[in-house]
């Protein structure tokens, strides 16, 4: 399919623009921080030369934070795009469907069971898997709540997601009461959604999970296009609908869970980004790619806001995305026919 949403302008042009914007945003976020560094210092520190303190700040703190923001934003947006395609609902996203809440429960439970101390390198890979299990449980419960007569009722799905989200919040609070005060505080800080704990190890882990999710989802792009005509018509076009749905749910849950396990609950990215780039993409292959780039750019920008709005104090990036996302969601809701 010629990926031309806007006539004559192929999607790769938009992808190139978004990629350039992402690079500028990442570059910008390397320059700013509590310690003032000149652009030249940042540049040489990036390649390991110059002042040792600058090298540590740039390579151990600022670069991981920027890259983690990009990966988390990209993973959440791609997860949202896949869920929207699966459910035929432009209002679907991992946060609203309870996937993020389930992932948070799984992650917290994993951490409480001592699945690697947080911050240790191994935990970067293990905790997302615990989150993934939690996300899968949430998906199953949401699906059970929304199914009627053996079929998934798309209308009930968001309601079911809201209920599972509330349940997940309750379980999180319940689990939190088991930790000691210091641990509880660090968990709460994580839950609110923050990139402050970025480490090179977390970046590596998330890069692996994000790549895995994309590798699973990109081959399904054409099936997603067909699903826009409804599951029945897609089936008559030779799409193995049930297999596509299972793989896509797994991949979307994995992406959201890996993001949540690393940086807590950051809402609305998965909802807004696919919606914003949908007009630029002619089909789902372009939509998935543009969503990743757009989500990455949005979260790096949101994190810059979170760090600078009330500097030197830092607000949670989850609060920033929710402050931007909730009104945008209401506008979308009202705009629907």
């Amino acid at each position: 399919m010629t990926p031309a949403g806007a006539p004559g302008r192929p999607a790769w042009v938009f992808a190139a623009v978004l990629f350039a914007a992402l690079c500028v945003l990442i570059g910008g976020s390397l320059l700013f921080g509590s310690v003032r560094l000149a652009p030249g210092e940042v540049w040489s520190a990036l390649f390991g030369s110059g002042d040792a303190r600058a090298v540590t700040i740039v390579r151990e703190l600022r670069l991981p934070r920027a890259l983690l923001g990009a990966l988390v934003g990209g993973a959440l947006a791609v997860s949202g795009a896949a869920l929207q395609a699966l459910l035929g609902n432009p209002l679907a996203d991992p946060y609203l469907l309870g996937v993020s809440g389930g992932a948070a429960c799984g992650t917290l439970l994993g951490a409480l069971l001592g699945l690697g101390a947080r911050g240790a390198w191994g935990s970067s890979f293990a905790l997302p898997l615990a989150g993934f299990l939690g996300a899968l449980v949430a998906v199953l419960v949401v699906g059970a709540g929304a199914s009627a007569g053996g079929r998934l009722d798309r209308g009930r799905l968001l309601l079911s997601g809201v209920v599972v989200n509330a349940l997940a919040s309750a379980i999180l609070l319940f689990l939190l009461s088991f930790g000691d005060a210091a641990r509880t505080q660090s968990f709460i800080f994580w839950m609110l959604g923050s990139l402050a704990g970025a480490t090179p190890g977390a970046v590596k882990a998330l890069a692996v999970y994000a790549a895995l999710g994309l590798v699973l989802l990109l081959p399904l792009a054409r099936a997603f296009d067909a699903l826009a005509l409804g599951e029945e018509t897609a089936a008559t076009l030779g799409i193995p609908v049930e297999t596509v749905k299972r793989v896509a749910y797994l991949a979307a849950s994995l992406l959201a869970a890996a993001a949540v396990a690393t940086t807590g609950i950051i809402g609305f990215v998965g909802l807004l980004v696919p919606h914003a780039v949908r007009r630029l993409a002619g089909g789902h292959r372009a939509l998935l790619v543009l969503s990743f780039l757009g989500g990455a750019a949005l979260l790096v920008a949101a994190d810059a806001l979170a760090r600078s709005l009330f500097a030197p104090a830092e607000i949670s990036v989850g609060a920033v995305t929710a402050l931007l996302g909730a009104p945008a969601f209401l506008i979308l809701l009202r705009a629907r026919p």
Partner: protein
């Protein structure tokens, strides 16, 4: 007269609800059949079951003499073109891109449509008098225009068995004939066609055969001259039906209110 698609003693339904019972019918290649029945009589369910979307609870479906269940997925998708009833697009999509989706069974697993696919899609749009809509968002065009784009999607796939659920819904008279002509060309080229409608003029002018469905069972099946009779149609729709001889000897049906009892 060879059978394109055949149902033998077919029963199907949803969950605990059985909709179709013991339906046997033959869709012959080269002929157009119309599916008639009251709301809820099982027309859409029958079309879905014939398209392989509902597993039969009893009986079976044969595609060119082979059990449909044993035909590979892609091969069945190429052979059978299905048009669903009513479609509300939620996402923006260009009409041409929607029609190109009809080429899906002809593409490799990860392939993209090529020049031939594009040509087939454009030809199908033109045939449905919708060439000018190619670049339009399907959410911004009228219901009748969207119906023609959806039909073009089926035509673009080049199937040899057509299962169309109310293909002339929302269409003005000129475009109804356009659709009937397209079906006639496909039948003349050896396709089997089954379509449902509530428009008896469309049925009598467009179809060779009729399948009358009542309560999930076949009330009558056969050439329109035999099946579209006052007696059968009165029974089928529980109204009084009068049939006169219309242009070309085709039955001309008019309905009146149910006979007083």
């Amino acid at each position: 007269m060879t059978a394109g698609l055949e149902a033998r003693g077919l029963s199907a339904g949803y969950g605990a609800h059985t909709v179709l019972s013991d339906v046997s019918l033959t869709l012959a290649r080269g002929r157009i059949s119309v599916l008639l029945g009251e709301n809820g009589s099982g027309k859409s369910t029958l079309l879905k079951a014939l398209a392989g979307l509902l597993p039969p609870r009893a009986g079976g479906i044969l595609l060119d003499g082979r059990p449909l269940a044993s035909v590979p997925r892609r091969e069945a998708a190429r052979a059978i073109g299905y048009l669903q009833q009513g479609f509300e697009p939620l996402f923006p999509m260009r009409a041409l891109d929607l029609v190109l989706l009809g080429r899906t069974p002809h593409l490799g697993a990860f392939g993209s449509p090529g020049g031939g696919d594009r040509a087939a899609a454009e030809a199908a749009l033109d045939e449905m008098d919708a060439g000018a809509l190619a670049g339009s968002d399907i959410r911004s065009i009228s219901g009748g225009e969207r119906q023609r784009v959806l039909l073009a999607r089926v035509l673009a796939g080049g199937p040899s068995v057509f299962l169309l659920d109310e293909p002339t819904a929302n269409l003005d008279p000129r475009h109804r004939f356009l659709v009937l002509d397209a079906m006639r060309r496909r039948a003349a080229a050896g396709s089997a066609v089954l379509f449902s409608t509530h428009e008896l003029d469309v049925a009598s002018q467009g179809a060779d055969d009729a399948v009358l469905l009542a309560g999930g069972r076949v009330l009558a099946e056969g050439p329109v001259g035999v099946t579209l009779t006052g007696g059968l149609l009165s029974r089928l729709f529980a109204v009084s039906a009068h049939v006169a001889s219309g242009p070309g000897g085709r039955p001309l049906v008019s309905f009146g209110p149910p006979p007083a009892r």
